[in-house]
Symmetry: C2
Subunit: 672 residues, 2 copies
């Protein structure tokens, strides 16, 4: 399904953008001789704005969570943070519609990030065997209606999304592992890999039919970087320092991108928080994008001969001589994916250095402004495009400086390295990004330089972005990082835990359970069950753990001790009842409990987890952290050496110690 | 260093094998006309046997653990099982020498498996900053002198080995993760990846110098499958069922290989256990290999024209007409790596089907016999070669059957698929093997078929090999698998644990500690420390865990309570003292404790782990298993609900429940 969605997006964008370019091109050609090109400009701007308006309206008014690439949200989901509505069917529909509109509308965005989100939604939906939005239950896959199982499926879906977007199944697996999985499970990984492979295969198969060559399964991925041929694929030892310099440059530019964007985000949170303002901003950006493009095409005098084997789809003559085309127009009259490919593969001499320089600056500004708009869009492709442009420029300049022309003959190589550097500087991924880029270029030879470049970009970028203050107005997300913070080694569970804890007895009064669950100030999700009712307010001995959701199901089915005898003939509460209620457990307010029933008792013994993980009070924070991370815990009971409950550690308690480190994550979340 | 070792092995094998082939070739050419080719045969057999004898002598008499590929040993090491001498410097030296001899000796073996072992030894050695074999301590990296840190390094080393062997850095990372890591750590993975990349790069760089094209870094890996060109790389939907059939065939043949080898292993354990017998068997195999090759060349009448662009290094005319060469001779007068490459890439029509069929049968028999000899050698390349041969045959037969010649034009594709199927059927790896093969061919297009084929081969192979009885005479290895066995869900920690446990008091008599440690019948490595001395033999409350190695260091330094006051001026025992003793802690017998000292007391409070992981008795086995796997535990204390120690779960306790599932692992270990 992910592959099919990718295929659909690809074809829709191709068609819509094709019609648009054709219309604008004919219009320009018509008015080039007549004079009055401003009419063409207006046509272009209006077309762009119209597309973007549609997409932005859907996102802003129908499903704001569908804005942006969705990658930060999926990261949080895989990390164990619950974000409402992120894997709903409605989100998927709006996302797909939105991304088609924003790419067709000519914004400086890509369609790859949203694919990852789409894959995740598909996986979360299919694995449950029902859709709560559509109110349809297929009565299958009931086993998977649990948080952990669903998370596994979402990792596979995200991997399939990466795989479809970049034709990078292995990169997809690594992306999922890098972002989500904490416990490496061989079988799960293998399944994720299988999902990724099937996704690439499906996309490939249907695109091959679309392109009229059915069954030729050799062009993977939405973005096709084109194959670097084996003869030209080589680099030399002395080029490595150059690559590292480019990596550092990418880190600096990436940090600049993030910093400007950070201020923009704060501005947006303060002043542009109403949906109609957001739509208007998106339309404005679309119009400005068209204007800037037009101006650059208009003032550019970079004419290139129209070769026999020319692959440009919309060559625009404009003021060039006959048999030539305007090369700036090519850069803009293309989906960004195609432009990246041209920058990688066009033979030396295709681009004028000045054109490239101006293009880099303009596109950088547009991309910064665009990122964070209320539209569905990714930042991968614009980053790659900016990087490819200045990378190619770098390569051309090198060949000017060097005496021997032949060594630096291939500016396409530098375009690739520049693209990697810029992308790395902006998103700061390393492992999975290396593999994704290697797979997307279909070539392992550049693996080592790409890795060096991404590492340099990350180090340099982190230097600038660190120590940034928190974004005002954004609630903190309990995001757990890989390692406990280095300052935490002297802290113990005692300092970290929440205390006192609300506990229940094995056999508890219904009234008290309802009161505790209704108490909005605490809002806990896990409650230790203790064995002895202690008179003097001393904590009791731990004997289990029960979840809010379980209690709610119990209350709903009125599983009270007093009724047990009278309802012997009725069926017992089964695992199925818990699964059916997943994932939208009713709020406690919706469950009616009469005054009589409040006096009944509930026996929790049968339903609680009888052996929850516990730690003594003296356990160090890194050890607690490791338990949470390795076992995917949400609650950890802290006991004294008599096994009495003294506290409870939750994700929030742990995440508090990561203040200031999750800046980038927060920035990306704030933009949605 | 791993890259350098790989480079050295490659060059040494190339040179030695080159001299050998040249000598034999000249001799054959000389006697072809004279008659008396038996002299050539004898020369060949003697040369082979001499090489193999050298390698086998070194392995059998100096370091038997260096036999085989070393992969099962590294797997066990990464799993947490201690195997003596597996990461010593001496093992490395013997291994490298042994593998050069066995490959140069013309055995049906590869040099790739041993590279993985070599990488692991290098990593284990370098990370410790000293060599106990050479009695040299560089006083660096003392932080890494711990089991967990060393294991991390060994995973990186193994990955670097895979990377150097196959030019597959990502495959290397996945190999390490698949075999070793249980807790996925992003930073560690990134470091492993870095090690892999550097290893490929180094190998590449030095080989490029050796080949006279310094700095051209485009041929990765020891084995170079050659690049599949983009034009010819494609497959069609209707070929997928064929691929799956080939996968099943590979599974059957792989199972056959393993079953025959299993009987051979039992035979060897029973009758060929003396080193000199082992050396003689190895020499016999070498001579037979030469004879079989010679016979096949002699009786083959498959002559191929000697083209202009012919790349065969040792074309042998023998009885062919002028301007032609004997194609069977080509298959044998080559290192197996080159033969695989020829099978993948030679144009259609290069091989005669009968030649291929006979070759497959002969090589299969030789490889089965060879695998498990007392020589350093891997099974990857022979498997690939067998598979490539029958795969190509399959492709040729297809093109006979099909009416339209052009579709099936490329038998090289089928050779690749056959190679994957055969290798998958023998070694039963899936995820990492897919990635390794994809990287080694430098092409992602065949990723999906390769994955399908490996999966089919594994499923079919597992069908035959399952239920195999255990190997007699092999002690069981406490190897922990990924998941708890499915039958274990009704077992709890109470049934699994060892009980009663030997516990120590916080302040314990030295005499008792010495007695417990000297008691060879128990031989425990971890001891719970309990708080109260209980009079009536009741278990005490848990308050810590101390290891045998720690107790030995304490005894060695005589850290007794009675001496504390008198030795105030002396320095306290520090972490460094524990690290310096790692990894070869002296046995308890070597520590002299006088009768007086036996009466002293030792305070363990300061040195024990104060918050060991504990579980209640009722914890289910899968939950215990998950804790062991996720946290890399070796001991887990089982307590009752008063926190009193009632038992201890060790790896051995858990591994008992996997009886019968680790057959393949055991087989491979038995062969060393």
């Amino acid at each position: 399904l992910t592959g099919l969605i990718a295929c659909m997006i690809d074809i829709a964008v191709e068609k819509l953008a094709g019609y648009k370019y054709l219309a604008v091109k004919q219009n320009i050609e018509k008015y080039t001789e007549l004079g009055g090109l401003s009419i063409s400009l207006i046509l272009w701007a209006v077309l762009n704005s119209a597309f973007v308006m549609l997409g932005s309206l859907a996102v802003a008014f129908l499903e704001p969570i569908a804005a942006g690439s969705g990658i930060p949200q999926i990261k949080c989901f895989l990390n164990g943070v619950k974000i409402p509505r992120v894997v709903r069917l409605k989100t998927l529909v709006i996302k797909v519609f939105g991304v088609i509109c924003s790419v067709a509308g000519g914004l400086a965005v890509g369609k790859e990030g949203p694919m990852i989100h789409s894959g995740a939604v598909v996986a979360a939906g299919v694995s449950q065997g029902r859709s709560t939005s559509l109110k349809k239950d297929f009565k299958i896959f009931e086993y998977f209606r649990r948080d952990t199982e669903k998370r596994d499926f979402v990792s596979a879906g995200a991997a399939a999304g990466v795989s479809a977007a970049f034709g990078a199944p292995v990169g997809g697996v690594l992306f999922s592992l890098e972002e989500g999985a904490s416990f490496w499970n061989q079988l799960l990984t293998w399944r994720i890999f299988f999902a990724s492979m099937v996704s690439t295969f499906t996309l490939n198969f249907f695109l091959s039919i679309y392109h009229g060559k059915p069954g030729q399964l050799s062009s993977p991925g939405l973005i096709n970087f084109g194959r670097f041929d084996s003869d030209s694929v080589q680099y030399n030892l002395y080029e490595i320092p150059l690559f590292i310099i480019m990596g550092a440059l990418g880190g600096v530019l990436g940090a600049l991108f993030n910093i400007i964007n950070y201020w923009l985000t704060i501005f947006r949170i303060r002043y542009i928080h109403r949906p109609c303002l957001q739509v208007m901003e998106a339309m404005l950006v679309a119009a400005v994008t068209a204007t800037v493009s037009f101006a650059m095409i208009y003032f550019s005098n970079d004419c290139q001969p129209l070769g026999q084997d020319n692959t440009e789809e919309y060559p625009l003559q404009l003021f060039c001589a006959d048999g030539e085309y305007n090369s700036m127009a090519t850069a803009f009259f293309n989906t960004p994916e195609r432009s990246v490919r041209s920058l990688f593969h066009n033979p030396p001499g295709t681009y004028n250095p000045v054109t490239l320089g101006v293009f880099t600056l303009a596109y950088f500004a547009l991309a910064v402004w665009t990122y964070g708009l209320t539209v569905s869009a990714g930042v991968f492709i614009p980053s790659l495009l900016i990087g490819a442009a200045w990378g190619r420029l770098f390569g051309i300049l090198l060949s000017f400086i060097a005496s021997s022309q032949s060594i630096w003959a291939d500016p396409g190589k530098y375009a690739l390295i520049g693209a990697a550097a810029q992308l790395g500087g902006i998103v700061r991924m390393t492992l999975s990004l290396t593999v994704i880029l290697v797979e997307a270029t279909g070539n392992v030879t550049y693996g080592f330089p790409i890795m060096l470049v991404l590492m340099t970009a990350k180090i340099v970028g982190d230097y600038f972005i660190e120590g940034r203050s928190r974004i005002p107005g954004l609630q903190s997300v309990p995001f757990l990082h890989w390692d406990a913070p280095p300052t935490s080694h002297w802290l113990t569970a005692r300092e970290v835990m929440s205390s006192p804890v609300t506990c229940f007895n094995r056999v508890e009064k219904v009234g008290r359970i309802v009161d505790v669950l209704s108490n909005t100030s605490t809002n806990h999700n896990g409650f230790p069950v203790v064995s002895d009712t202690t008179e003097n307010d001393e904590p009791g001995k731990i004997c289990g753990l029960i979840l809010r959701s379980q209690l709610i199901v119990l209350l709903k089915h009125k599983v009270f001790v007093e009724r047990a005898s009278s309802r012997l003939s009725q069926r017992r509460l089964q695992l199925k009842d818990f699964r059916d209620a997943y994932p939208r457990f009713p709020p406690i307010q919706s469950i009616h409990v009469s005054q009589d029933e409040r006096e009944c008792m509930m026996d929790l013994t049968e339903f609680m987890n009888p052996t929850p993980y516990t730690v003594p009070q003296e356990t160090s924070l890194p050890r607690v952290f490791k338990l949470f991370r390795a076992l995917g815990l949400r609650h950890l009971v802290v006991v004294d050496n008599e096994n009495r409950v003294v506290g409870l550690v939750t994700r929030k308690d742990l995440a508090r110690y990561h203040v200031g480190k999750d800046g980038l994550e927060e920035l990306h979340l704030a933009q949605t």
